[in-house]
Symmetry: C2
Subunit: 244 residues, 2 copies
């Protein structure tokens, strides 16, 4: 297909994102993707209010389209909508955080196995480039970008597996993981991550599904353990953290 006009980020990743939002391409989808990437890049912190008027004015569209976009985001778990109160960037609870990573630990290893079977040479090259970019961002100290790329690595794997439904589940889980990491990440070093990704890629190159599954499982569990999910004041408003 010819490259359609795309206003933001890498078109490859953006194109795949269409699958999450079952919206006929248009302004609504644009707003969706913009808010989505803003949240993924941690430019919109969890809990922030997304006023319809405000968002509409920023992007130059009516509340109607903003509403549709917010509802779409709500369905993917990135936004919560409260009746007569408005939409907010989601603040996953500790419990949700556990559930997300448990779900990932269930689904992604299976995906990895499928990917090891279906992967092509071009895919391997693309994944390697992704890892390089991740290293690069890490070396530059751009932690936010590194984490974002790390998530995209997982979604790319899911795409290669050629299983749309599981891939969309993974995508949704990874989006939520981004919010969870924004709230609960404790580990300073993400070096081990890159190592996992490299090992995973190696197993793909060897078409070793068993190994890929095992590596991915360990990797997810490792990520899970990298969160600080102790029961500190969970329901704290932004007020409390401003006063610490």
């Amino acid at each position: 297909m010819t490259q359609p006009l795309r206003t933001s980020q890498t078109s490859a990743a953006a194109d795949r994102l269409h699958d999450i939002f079952p919206l006929p391409a248009g302004r609504t989808l644009d707003i969706c993707l913009k808010l989505h990437s803003a949240i993924l890049e941690h430019r919109l912190a969890p809990g922030i209010k997304l006023s319809e008027d405000e968002v509409g004015e920023i992007y130059g569209v009516s509340r109607t389209v903003v509403r549709a976009a917010l509802q779409a985001l709500a369905h993917s778990g990135m936004v919560t909508i409260e009746k007569n109160r408005g939409a907010f960037v989601a603040r996953p609870t500790i419990r949700e955080a556990h559930e997300v990573f448990e779900a990932r630990a269930l689904i992604e290893p299976r995906i990895a196995r499928m990917t090891a079977q279906a992967v092509s040479e071009a895919d391997l090259v693309r994944l390697q480039a992704h890892i390089d970019a991740e290293h690069e961002a890490l070396a530059a100290g751009d932690m936010g970008k590194a984490l974002s790329l790390s998530g995209q690595f997982h979604t790319e794997i899911a795409d290669i597996a050629n299983h749309q439904i599981l891939a969309n589940m993974v995508r949704s889980l990874i989006s939520r993981s981004s919010l969870i990491i924004a709230l609960y990440w404790k580990r300073a070093d993400t070096a081990c991550e890159s190592h996992s990704h490299h090992a995973l890629l190696k197993s793909f190159a060897e078409h070793n599904g068993e190994a890929a599954e095992e590596i991915q499982k360990s990797h997810i569990i490792d990520l899970h353990s990298g969160l600080d999910l102790r029961d500190r004041l969970d329901k704290t408003n932004s007020l409390a953290e401003a006063l610490t």
Copy 2:
């Protein structure tokens, strides 16, 4: 909590359904649930057009709320929306059908294992009552109701497992399964199904997670094999099937 006014069907099932649609309770949610159950009960066949004006007039609401409801249903995969053409009850492709049951075969056995651990006496009683109702419907020859109850049985199990994210995934998959069954079911006898459900319940009563996982896995695979997913004209409009 006090029983809120609920316009349709059993409140227990309906209450849980709220989780699928992240909408603040209101007319939009009502329409969503009504269309949802209509589709699940096979009263709306796959492919049927859901005109905004038409639906709005039926339920006495504006197109605005109907639109929101249709978009919500689109997110859950029950409805497809085509730009400038409208919304239709989804027609899962053969590929999607495979994917749905593959995903179920991955997730539901794990859920079953968790349920075996978390199940209470009250849960067991409720599940048994569900099986009885299923037998009853089957004896009465009401195949549609039996299938609907069969699906609800799976969602109830997911609720007991106490894992919201996986439960919602299962709910979504089962909703789509209903559409798939409407399109591709070939097996005349569903007796084996009831047997599986009974065996599952027994493993729950014994808190035998291993057994529950294995039984559920076999059960899902069995359901999958009960579909006629040969490559007959897949993209057929309602026209072709009207001329057979």
